[in-house]
């Protein structure tokens, strides 16, 4: 049985169909990539799955439970985490605290209970320890005490991944994790992705860096103008006629090649 | 947080240092009588507090130049309540505890007077209020006195005047502030007794800029006269709106519209408006040759010489407040204490002031009656006694 099942997902903005009846599956502990030219609907697809946007049609089933209509935070708590194309970090907090906030998921902490707490509760200490571990896992533990706003670009992306991991997800959707990263940073990222997968977390990656996609993805979904035009292992996708046309069309554009 | 605490400590301790050294510095020998005054010198009642302060300054200077009382001068310590009840209350406590005043004049407003009450009662310091709310003396306190005519006196007078002129179907329009609500209560309570039927009862809020909706409703009820119970610029708007709606009914009002600003604001619409209040607007009403006439004309002349404008009714309330206290101080035999002053105030008998001739008693701390009321009609931009 698949972990995530997307069926016929559709989203229209006025006359434009941003996501057009897209279906695919993600299996446990696997890495899947979603690619496509700019404006193909990749980010919208992520927003629909994670509850940040509402689908007009279709269903999303995660671990046997329907996700459509649930609020984004509830989806995260159900075990499906995400990152953003434009990082949404807590800029005035340290890297460690960014992760720690996410590590709070699942720990009891109502107002009353917090208000009358006069010593460090065990949950609090666990949260801090777990956050530190995740910074090590993503290879950015050297920046633990740096404010998010002061972090280098690549570290910001890794921090967002660490933060998503802290919610203890079974599946993570990463929106262009390698955008703006240099070669060394990309290498760190790829290593981190493997380690995460090996921890039992499935990954779906939207990415433009084809090198990265071809290396890490076990399967690739290709979107063009909202619709899925191909799905399969990297080697097959590279030879897929529809995919090549879609990309060539974009690259040559109106000006010709 | 540590630094915050240090700063907090400083902020909390600073005033303490200041206050413990504040009550020294009194003169030896003939120490002046210290009287406190809580006035609305700023805020929405500034138009009341400022003439009140002017009148008190004027009278204190006169009394002291004449040698004071029992050879001792009067010193008035002013506090501005900024038209805020909480500030009025704190000011009263400060005057009592730090300045050691014998009595407090004030406040300018009804709510502000009520706010000062419990602290004055507990400390045993008399208050002479210049606010007209009936609650000040109706809800009786042995420590609180009042100089203006409350609605309890003015409303029955005006209603009877309306009935006497054959205007028995009356429409009321009142503000939702203290003055209007208090007045409305008395209109509802006394209408029947005065022989008047209320055919419409409308209200408006301070700050409203147009009352033609309320007046349209009143016009539809077809009253013989409209009674405006309001103060401030809204009263002038009502007069204007009524005229613009071609309403022929005469307009009546009370002390709230006994101000030059009402005539200026309503302009032609003020013509023919009738109002019941004290005699200060036209001193001849006291009757030439009477003591009251002499007192009023003397005050008006001195006030005009000092400030270049005629005193309004609020200046009159303040004249009476300081005058009543001075009169009572002069009658005290033995130690001058707040309690002796209160007893002396209660014994005030036939003291002639601006708002009327005051006779206080242990059960009457207003001391005025309907007899102090006269009906004016506005003509040619000024007040004239109505025949």
């Amino acid at each position: 049985m698949s972990l995530l099942a997307v069926r016929g997902l559709t989203r229209r903005f006025g006359g434009l169909t941003a996501v057009d009846a897209v279906s695919f599956d993600v299996h446990e502990s696997s890495i899947k990539a979603v690619i496509g030219p700019n404006g193909a609907g990749k980010s919208t697809l992520f927003n629909l799955i994670t509850g940040f946007d509402r689908a007009d049609e279709g269903s999303v089933t995660f671990d046997g439970a329907a996700l459509v209509g649930k609020r984004p935070d509830a989806i995260v708590r159900a075990g499906l985490a995400r990152t953003f194309q434009n990082t949404e970090l807590f800029e005035d907090l340290t890297a460690l605290d960014n992760v720690r906030i996410a590590a709070d998921v699942g720990h009891p902490g109502g107002f009353l209970r917090s208000a009358v707490r006069f010593r460090l509760a065990s949950g609090e200490r666990d949260g801090a320890a777990r956050a530190a571990y995740l910074l090590r896992l993503t290879g950015i533990d050297g920046f633990a005490d740096t404010l998010a706003r002061d972090l280098p670009h690549g570290t910001r992306r890794l921090l967002e991944i660490a933060r998503a991991l802290a919610t203890a997800p079974r599946l993570m959707l990463l929106d262009e994790p390698a955008a703006g990263l240099n070669g060394a940073e990309t290498r760190t990222l790829i290593d981190a992705l493997y380690r995460i997968r090996d921890e039992g977390v499935a990954l779906v990656v939207v990415e433009h860096d084809m090198g990265l996609v071809m290396e890490v993805a076990e399967e690739i979904v290709v979107l063009d103008r909202g619709a899925k035009i191909a799905e399969g292992p990297p080697l097959l996708i590279q030879k897929d006629r529809a995919v090549i046309e879609a990309y060539l069309g974009e690259e040559c554009g109106d000006d010709g090649c | 947080m540590t630094r915050a605490a240090a700063a907090l400590l400083v902020a909390v301790c600073l005033p303490v240092v200041g206050c413990s050294s504040a009550d020294t510095g009194a003169d030896e020998g003939a120490e002046p009588y210290r009287i406190g005054a809580v006035l609305s010198l700023t805020g929405s009642y500034a138009g009341l507090g400022i003439p009140e302060k002017q009148a008190i300054d004027l009278e204190v200077a006169r009394i002291n130049e004449a040698g004071g009382i029992n050879g001792r001068e009067i010193e008035v310590i002013y506090e501005d309540d900024a038209t805020d009840a909480a500030k009025a209350q704190a000011a009263a406590v400060r005057l009592i505890d730090e300045e050691g005043v014998l009595a407090i004049i004030g406040a300018s407003g009804t709510g502000h007077t009520v706010a000062m009450r419990s602290d004055a009662e507990r400390a045993g310091v008399p208050i002479v209020s210049m606010a007209g709310g009936s609650v000040i003396t109706d809800d009786f306190s042995e420590w609180v006195f009042q100089t203006p005519w409350p609605n309890r006196i003015v409303i029955p007078f005006v209603l009877k005047q309306m009935a006497a002129a054959g205007r028995t179907n009356v429409a009321l329009i009142s503000d939702t502030g203290g003055y209007g609500v208090d007045g409305r209560d008395y209109v509802l309570a006394h209408a029947q007794e005065a022989g008047v039927t209320l055919v419409a009862d409308e209200t408006f809020n301070a700050g409203d800029t147009d009352m033609s909706s309320q007046l349209t409703k009143i016009r539809a009820a077809d009253p013989d006269a409209v009674l405006i119970w309001a103060a401030g610029k809204e009263a002038a708007i009502i007069a204007r709106n009524a005229r613009q709606l071609n309403m022929q009914q005469p307009l009546y009002g009370g002390s709230g519209i006994a101000r030059q600003e009402f005539i200026d604001g309503a302009a032609e619409a003020a013509e023919g408006v009738r109002l019941g209040t004290g005699r200060i607007l036209v001193p001849e009403a006291f009757g030439e040759g009477t003591e009251a006439y002499a007192v009023a004309t003397d005050f008006i002349a001195r006030f005009e010489a000092e400030y270049g404008a005629k005193p309004d009714i609020f200046a009159g309330h303040a004249y009476d407040a300081i005058g009543l206290i001075a009169d009572a101080l002069g009658r005290i035999e033995g130690d001058v204490t707040s309690e002796a002053l209160r007893d002396a105030l209660e014994e005030t008998d036939g003291w002639v002031g601006i708002d009327g001739t005051f006779t206080y008693s242990p059960s009457d701390h207003n001391g005025l009656t309907e007899d102090e009321m006269v009906l004016y009609v506005i003509e040619g931009g000024t007040w004239r006694l109505d025949d």
């Binding site: - | 700023t42 009840a85 704190a90």
Partner: protein, 335 residues
């Protein structure tokens, strides 16, 4: 970890509070002056309101232009229950807190779907409606003339009717409030609020129930306002609608902004200083009568200019300044 170190770790965040508590306790020893104590009661009441508003605005990023209305709800509820219905004081205060929280909940449920200026308008509208209710429900509130003779606080048969007693009670509650709020800020809900204020999407991605958090924070800050209102009513003895109007709500917002978003010490300090400001003429020694008269006359100008100046020259507010001082202090220690 040695036990000494452990104790120090445990105490450090509360040092400010402990110092404040010592200062509070010291005041009645230094002066028995009723006026000073009375003014400090106003300050204590405002500190409680501001602690709640600092949570709501400074940490959760939600504006409220109607907090004075919640203070009013608390004040009238407790005054009515205790004065008119002879309920025990503790019952009155508890009911005031609960009713204000319920009011906050009722307003928050629909209103927190709104953002920024729309939320400002909704809370402002609520404040204006409550003002009319306070004015017109005369059987309960006494209308414009206000409600006087509200009984002093009474706990377990002990009547707190001395100025020092009232002062200590109000400040005791204020310090306790600060302690509880500080604890909240230092644990999960506080972190969630900071996350929400930084970026709502980021907070959602961390699994934070942002809607629930906003609603609960709003209700909590309304409850604290209600508690403050009840203490005000019984401590001062007289309440009237004008104390709970829009002007006061605006002043509360101003205090929090001047104090600095994201800080508790800053707004607390701002509440102390700005509440004392109108009384400065009487509290600062050695001022001449003329100076006092001028200060009273120009008070509103001074207040307004001070607000503008703080925002221009210290946009992070007093809290920001404190943080800078603290960071500099830490830097010196390290080097």
């Amino acid at each position: 970890m040695s036990s000494v170190k452990r104790i120090r770790l445990f105490i450090t965040p509360y040092l400010g509070l402990i110092a404040a508590a010592l200062a509070v306790a010291a005041v009645p020893l230094v002066t028995p002056d009723r006026y000073v104590l009375k003014v400090l009661v106003y300050v204590g009441v405002n500190v409680i309101v501001i602690a709640g508003l600092a949570l709501l605005f400074g940490h959760a990023g939600q504006i409220s232009m109607g907090h004075a209305a919640f203070v009013g709800i608390g004040a009238y509820t407790s005054a009515y229950l205790v004065k008119t219905l002879d309920a025990p004081w503790l019952v009155g205060v508890l009911a005031a807190t609960v009713l204000a929280a319920a009011g906050g909940l009722v307003l928050a449920l629909p209103a927190l779907r709104l953002r920024g200026h729309y939320l400002a308008m909704a809370t402002l509208g609520f404040s204006e409606i409550m003002y009319v209710v306070f004015r017109e429900a005369r059987a309960i509130t006494g209308g414009n003339d206000g409600l006087g003779g509200i009984p002093y606080p009474e706990v377990a048969g002990l009547k707190i009717d001395t100025p020092v007693g009232v002062y200590l009670l109000v400040w005791g509650v204020a310090l306790l409030t600060l302690l509880l709020v500080l604890n909240i800020l230092r644990s999960r809900p506080g972190r969630a609020m900071r996350a929400l204020q930084a970026t709502e999407n980021g907070a959602l991605a961390c699994g934070i129930d942002t809607v629930g958090l906003k609603i609960r924070t709003f209700a909590l800050s309304a409850a604290l306002a209600g508690l403050a209102g009840a203490l005000y009513a019984h401590g001062v003895g007289f309440i009237s609608p004008s104390t709970f109007g829009l002007d006061q709500s605006v002043i509360y917002m101003a205090i929090v902004v001047v104090g600095g978003a994201g800080s508790l010490a800053g707004p607390t300090l701002a509440a102390v200083v700005l509440t004392l400001l109108p009384y400065a003429d009487a509290l600062v020694p050695g001022l001449s009568k003329d100076t006092i008269a001028v200060m009273q006359d120009w008070e509103a100008d001074i207040y307004g200019l001070a607000m503008i100046a703080v925002v221009i020259f210290a946009p992070a507010g007093i809290g920001g300044l404190l943080k800078r001082i603290r960071l500099r202090g830490a830097g010196e220690v390290r080097s």
